[in-house]
């Protein structure tokens, strides 16, 4: 019992250190920041102290939380559309090679063109909200498409032979073999796409915000900048970071739950 629990304790200690070390660095940096602002008497419209940012976050919570909600709604709507579109197109690619050959180059073009450059153009043709949604969709779409397509094509060759031997139909092969094989790849794409959808939404909001549209977090940053409300700018930035971290953690956890029992990526090595 004790022989077993000793390495377990050591492992927990290691894990605790993984959390404790970055937290110490973070708190230390905040302390230094706070001290510098206090000692040099820097006014908040130049550099607000962390305590000031925190109090702004609480004081302006009604406005900021409303904006956070707008940004998150756009992020998840775009991500949902990217998942549906990306997975559907990847399945079409896997089932019919000519679809892949016809459409993949355009997916690449969409991916390599910077979203900041596309956003103003989209705002000409679409209303602000829709344009922001489309921008976020465009950046999240490609990693999901390309990862899922790669996963669908990576099914074990011997298993493919076995399916052929038992005269499986194309759709049986897709459902029982290719889709499960693609799941780890898809989840990897989802983790990247989730972060990118948020970035896409922010970038598009900034572009749209300058045209007088939207009320998301990015709009709050632009607006606070005009009003020299620097503490609120920082507060909005903090919320964006926290949202990004939570999205990443959520999809990491989802991967672990879905792959826990079989995939190497979700398991610790033995011994």
């Amino acid at each position: 019992m004790s022989a077993q629990s000793r390495p377990a304790i050591a492992m927990n200690a290691e894990r605790a250190l993984d959390i404790a070390l970055p937290v110490c660095v973070f708190l230390g940096a905040l302390g230094v920041w706070e001290a510098i602002v206090a000692l040099k008497d820097i006014p908040p419209y130049i550099l607000p102290a962390p305590s000031r940012i925190a109090s702004t976050l609480i004081a302006d919570w009604d406005t900021l939380s409303g904006s956070l909600w707008v940004t998150l709604r756009i992020t998840f709507a775009a991500l949902f559309a990217a998942v549906v579109g990306g997975v559907a197109l990847a399945i079409l690619f896997a089932q019919w090679k000519w679809v892949e050959r016809s459409f993949f180059p355009f997916a690449v073009i969409l991916q390599v063109t910077p979203i900041v450059a596309i956003a103003p153009l989209l705002l000409v043709y679409l209303d602000g909200g829709t344009a922001v949604l489309v921008c976020a969709f465009v950046v999240a779409f490609f990693p999901i498409l390309s990862n899922t397509a790669l996963g669908l094509a990576s099914a074990d060759h011997n298993l493919l032979d076995l399916f052929e031997l038992y005269r499986a139909s194309r759709w049986q092969q897709l459902i029982y073999l290719r889709l499960p094989s693609a799941l780890p790849y898809f989840l990897g794409g989802l983790r990247i796409g989730g972060g990118l959808a948020l970035i896409g939404a922010i970038v598009a909001e900034i572009a749209a915000g300058s045209a007088g549209q939207g009320a998301g977090l990015a709009f709050r940053i632009v607006e606070s900048g005009y009003r020299l409300n620097i503490p609120r700018m920082f507060a909005a930035l903090v919320l964006i970071s926290v949202a990004g971290i939570l999205i990443f953690l959520f999809f990491t956890l989802l991967s672990r739950v879905l792959l826990g029992r079989w995939h190497d990526s979700a398991r610790s090595r033995e011994g």
Partner: protein, 258 residues
């Protein structure tokens, strides 16, 4: 044990295989697979013995010659075991064995009895709910064999199934395979590069040479089944092992001269 009178299940005549890059994998191959026999294809790697298996399974087509079946039904009455266990890692042992039945449209409930029977045949009754990751190499191979046997095929094709296992596990699985073959009366074609394994298991060995792949010798092992570890110490075993080794050596020597 071998039945010389019955017509062969499958007959290969003048079979050749040339790959797209021009490599001649096989040339002028004649082979009869008799009902009920345990036939080993023994040879150095790259001699095309796996290609023969794939062609019999219909996974590759010959570029010359013909493959004739005794009846149309036998052609799809097959089980196939690969060198690695080739299990679906994302699902349980039970669902892995279910696969051949599932692909032919059998629901889980209708298949359950046959799956449990197949698992008990290979001694894995308690492991239906386990995932492949949780099993040892030898156990995974047993699941793979259970999957191949769940449809009770007339012909079982095995492509170096035990090559990646340690010798102790391999001996155990050799004996299990002989027991299963006796119980089910399955005809087996077994690809291997181990002389001793092929002599222990087979009623007949076809020895291959490479470049191009061809059969250079056929050795009958007329020891009766059931065989057990005593057979490994018999004079016949020693004599046939020597004959198979000699044939294999001359196959390798022929290759060196090229």
């Amino acid at each position: 044990m071998t039945n010389a009178i019955a017509p062969p299940i499958v007959r290969l005549r003048g079979v050749g295989k040339t790959f797209a890059n021009g490599t001649i994998a096989l040339e002028g191959l004649d082979l009869d697979v008799r009902s009920g026999e345990f036939l080993s294809l023994l040879g150095p790697s790259g001699c095309g013995k796996s290609t023969v298996l794939r062609m019999i399974a219909g996974l590759a087509s010959p570029s010359a010659g013909s493959i004739d079946w005794s009846d149309a039904q036998s052609r799809s009455d097959l089980g196939y075991v690969f060198q690695d266990s080739t299990l679906m890692p994302w699902t349980s042992v039970f669902n892995n064995v279910w696969l051949p039945l599932r692909l032919s449209g059998l629901s889980k409930a209708d298949a359950a009895t046959r799956i449990e029977e197949a698992l008990s045949l290979v001694g894995l009754s308690g492991f239906a709910k386990s995932y492949p990751r949780e099993l040892s190499g030898g156990m995974k191979m047993r699941v793979s064999i259970a999957r191949a046997l769940v449809l009770r095929p007339r012909l079982l094709l095995m492509d170096e199934p035990f090559a990646a296992l340690d010798e102790i596990t391999r001996f155990k699985l050799n004996n299990d395979l002989l027991r299963l073959k006796a119980e089910l009366g399955t005809t087996v074609i077994f690809v291997t590069h181990s002389v001793y394994e092929s002599v222990y298991l087979s009623s007949r060995i076809a020895v291959f040479a490479s470049r191009p792949g061809r059969i250079i010798d056929t050795i009958d092992i007329d020891a009766p089944y059931p065989r057990n570890e005593d057979f490994r110490h018999s004079a016949l075993y020693a004599e046939r092992s020597r004959a198979a080794s000699t044939a294999l050596m001359s196959a390798i020597a022929a290759e060196d001269h090229l």
